[in-house]
């Protein structure tokens, strides 16, 4: 796809980002000609998003960027933000990490999509409308055209943000985790969208935790760790024959390579659902669903994005009422026997209270000895010093571990885990899932795991439920 010999469309030389004296990103070089792609891999916090922001010219003032950026034939100093701002939208587009925050909450999806075609893409009224409908259709969002962003599921918002980010026709696209929370089918469609930018003579920089995206995209690959480039080269060569130990560990942690755990012994019936049905808005999520969950059982729920996986979990543990059908809990279960592990752990803790305070309150509520809590946190490899911090001041991986320790304190009979690791890099993900299953094995609790990743669903070693989607 690349035009060899053509001048680079985007080139970065000696890029660094400092805060005070501390380097957050050091000495990054790459060069992309029209049609080329670069994938950035690495742990959370390795500086991948920072790199994208530095290329955009959107770094906060306290961060100092060094080096230079060449874009569409114009070279500018990395810290000369204004030089590249003129290209935003038409020449350079960013697909940000949080699609929910990137969309305007007060404007219907179709209207903001059309606005981008008309105002950024410069299309006429009718052409913008036609392009919008085509975009909505190919993103599988035709039925959601009149929805507001808050009515979309995470995966739907992700697809919408991707479509709108590319609507301006920018030749350079920076995508920050564009496939987060998407199942295999939509992941492939998103990769196809990125490829179409390349085919149109653009170039793409993709930040991802998903090696399958790197594989499918091809092009160049860069592995970052702690702000430094540990390995860089052609994607297929690096993935086939990684030179650095960290790259090897990262590849080994890919969910499809995880070992399948042996299923634990199951006990008596915990929960029996008959003929469950749920409608969301005008859409039927599921109907006539029969399900029996026994103590200690592992159930993975899969399905395309927006198919109602999370809603089913919420219905099962009693957070959301079902529209039809019956749900019967076994007798003698405590009211707190059904617990939930959230996709975004930061949102599930009281934000203005220290983690230690939250856990101590809970220990008191459930007559759980504080020594036992400290013991569990220690086994999860958590530093007791973390407890003095607030939830927003702890990394996602650590916080999910604290959330796990928290739900286990209530001695749950059933745990509903809603994509508990989808925001984490593969290494942290694998560790998180193993810790989750170890904790459940120890307590004998059953698990309902919602995940878009077939590798993870397979590795937990239980049954898998596929929710069909009518979208």
């Amino acid at each position: 796809m690349s035009a060899t010999g053509a001048p680079p469309l985007l080139a970065v030389e000696g890029l660094s980002v400092h805060i005070g004296r501390r380097a957050l990103l050091r000495d990054v070089h790459f060069s992309l000609r029209p049609g080329e792609a670069l994938t950035l891999l690495g742990e959370s916090g390795a500086g991948k998003s920072l790199l994208a922001q530095a290329v955009m010219g959107n770094l906060p003032d306290v961060l100092r960027a060094g080096g230079s950026v060449l874009m569409e034939g114009r070279r500018s100093r990395a810290d000369d933000h204004r030089a590249r701002r003129a290209l935003w939208g038409r020449g350079l587009a960013l697909l940000p990490q949080e699609p929910a925050l990137a969309l305007d909450p007060l404007v219907r999806l179709q209207a903001q999509w059309r606005e981008t075609h008309a105002l950024v893409g410069g299309l006429g009224r009718a052409a913008a409308q036609a392009a919008t409908l085509e975009g909505l259709r190919s993103a599988g969002l035709a039925q959601a055209a009149g929805h507001y962003p808050w009515q979309l599921s995470g995966g739907m918002a992700q697809r919408a943000a991707a479509g709108i980010a590319t609507a301006g026709g920018a030749r350079i696209l920076l995508a920050d985790e564009p496939t987060k929370g998407l199942d295999a089918a939509w992941r492939d469609r998103t990769v196809a969208l990125l490829q179409s930018v390349r085919q149109a003579g653009g170039c793409v920089v993709v930040i991802t935790h998903d090696l399958r995206v790197a594989e499918a995209l091809g092009g160049q690959l860069m592995v970052l760790r702690g702000g430094e480039v540990v390995e860089q080269g052609a994607a297929d060569a690096v993935l086939r024959d990684p030179a650095h130990a960290f790259t090897r560990a990262l590849i080994a942690a890919e969910p499809s390579r995880w070992p399948r755990r042996s299923p634990p012994a199951t006990g008596g019936l915990l929960l029996e659902a008959a003929g469950l049905g749920k409608v969301y808005g005008e859409r039927l999520l599921f109907s006539g669903l029969d399900l029996r969950i026994h103590a200690g059982e592992r159930l993975a729920v899969q399905g395309s994005s927006g198919a109602g996986k999370s809603t089913l979990g919420n219905v099962l543990i009693g957070l959301t009422p079902a529209d039809t059908g019956t749900l019967r809990r076994a007798d003698g279960l405590a009211p707190t026997a059904f617990q939930k592990l959230y996709q975004d752990p930061a949102g599930s803790f009281a934000p203005r209270v220290s983690l230690g305070t939250s856990l101590r309150d809970l220990a008191r509520r459930h007559a759980f000895s504080w020594g036992g809590v400290e013991d569990r946190l220690g086994r999860l490899g958590l530093d007791p010093g973390l407890l003095a911090r607030r939830p927003a001041e702890v990394s996602g991986g650590e916080l999910q571990r604290i959330a796990l320790a928290r739900v286990l304190m209530t001695r749950p009979a059933l745990l509903f885990a809603d994509e508990p690791t989808s925001r984490l890099d593969p290494l942290t993900q694998q560790r998180g899932v193993v810790e989750l299953l170890d904790g459940l094995d120890e307590s004998g609790a059953a698990l309902v795991l919602v995940t878009h990743d077939e590798g993870i669903a397979h590795s937990v070693g239980g049954k898998t439920l596929h929710l069909a989607s009518d979208v």
Binding site: I19, G20, S49, L50, Q53, L59, P60, V62, L63, P96, Q97, E98, L101, D176, I317, L319, P335, T336, F338, Q339, K340, Y342, D344, G347, S348, F349, A350, P351, R352, V353, T357, S358, D361, L362, R365, H366, A392, E393, R406, V407, T410
Partner: protein, 278 residues
């Protein structure tokens, strides 16, 4: 992206700026409050003592801010006026805050009919201009402090109700509250760990704003002569008393106006926008 923008250093910088502004406001308020509390004790002159021979004296060693047309010491009267305005305003703002916040939280917690009824009540109060409400009450018992205080509180609670209803709704709908409920915590816990910590910064701001509003309302009532009655010293009353002597003794009217400005400015600086948006 949010991870980049939420860097601790940035948050720290915003917070420091915000703190500087608050400190300035606090210093201003503290000095006015100090003047109001200690003034009557430091300035030995009786605010009601008349000496017609000393009418309209210019500021000097005996009377730092001069005397009014009845020969009363202006500094002493100003200190008494400041004490009354500040005290009455703070008291009214606080008594409005407690029921306002509780009703707001109840409305968004219960939803449905309870919420509709409370919103309707608040809208009904809101449809009458605040100053008019205070006027109505003060006409029940002209010149009495309690009537003014009651009128002020009744017009101020609506703002607390509206803000705490709106601010507690996303908190109650959030995952954190859902998780706490699942973990077996009751309403008292949700109030203590989730709602009040989330409301506190907004309420602090609102308290300063509504106290400033009350100070201004008192002065406005004093000016039109239906608030505090003479011979009690009150800022608005002093302004209207000094107005006829604007030509011969302009420093007189400058004193209550400057004090009122400093008081309201201090409260506004203290309120500001809260830098702790995260």
């Amino acid at each position: 992206m949010s991870a980049v923008l939420d860097l601790p250093v940035l948050v720290e910088q915003r917070r420091r700026q915000h703190h500087r502004r608050r400190r300035a406001g606090l210093a201003l308020l503290a000095s006015v409050a100090g003047f109001a509390l200690l003034g009557p004790w430091l300035v030995s002159a009786d605010p009601a003592f008349q000496a017609l021979s000393d009418s309209l004296l210019a500021p000097g060693a005996a009377h730092w801010l001069g005397t009014d047309v009845l020969g009363r010491d202006v500094l002493s009267r100003l200190a008494h006026a400041a004490r009354m305005s500040l005290g009455l305003a703070l008291l009214a703002a606080l008594t409005a805050a407690v029921p306002g916040v509780l009703l707001g939280v109840i409305a968004s917690w219960r939803g449905g009919r309870t919420e509709r009824a409370l919103v309707m009540l608040a809208d009904a109060v809101l449809s009458v201009p605040g100053l008019l409400l205070v006027l109505l009450f003060s006409s029940l018992a002209p010149g009495r402090h309690w009537a003014l205080y009651l009128g002020l509180s009744l017009s101020l609670w609506v703002e607390y109700f509206r803000v705490s209803r709106a601010a507690s709704r996303p908190v109650l709908a959030g995952d954190a509250v859902q998780a706490s409920r699942l973990l077996g915590f009751g309403p008292a816990y949700l109030l203590r760990r989730h709602l009040l910590p989330a409301l506190a910064p907004v309420l602090g701001t609102l308290l300063a704003f509504s106290a400033a509003q009350a100070v201004l309302a008192l002065a406005a009532l004093g000016i039109v002569g239906v608030g505090i009655q003479p011979p009690t010293a009150e800022l608005g009353l002093m302004m209207i008393e000094f107005m006829p002597h604007y030509e011969e003794a302009p420093w007189l009217i400058a004193a209550p106006v400057a004090l009122l400005m400093l008081l309201v400015l201090g409260m506004m600086l203290l309120a500001g926008d809260d830098g702790d948006a995260a």
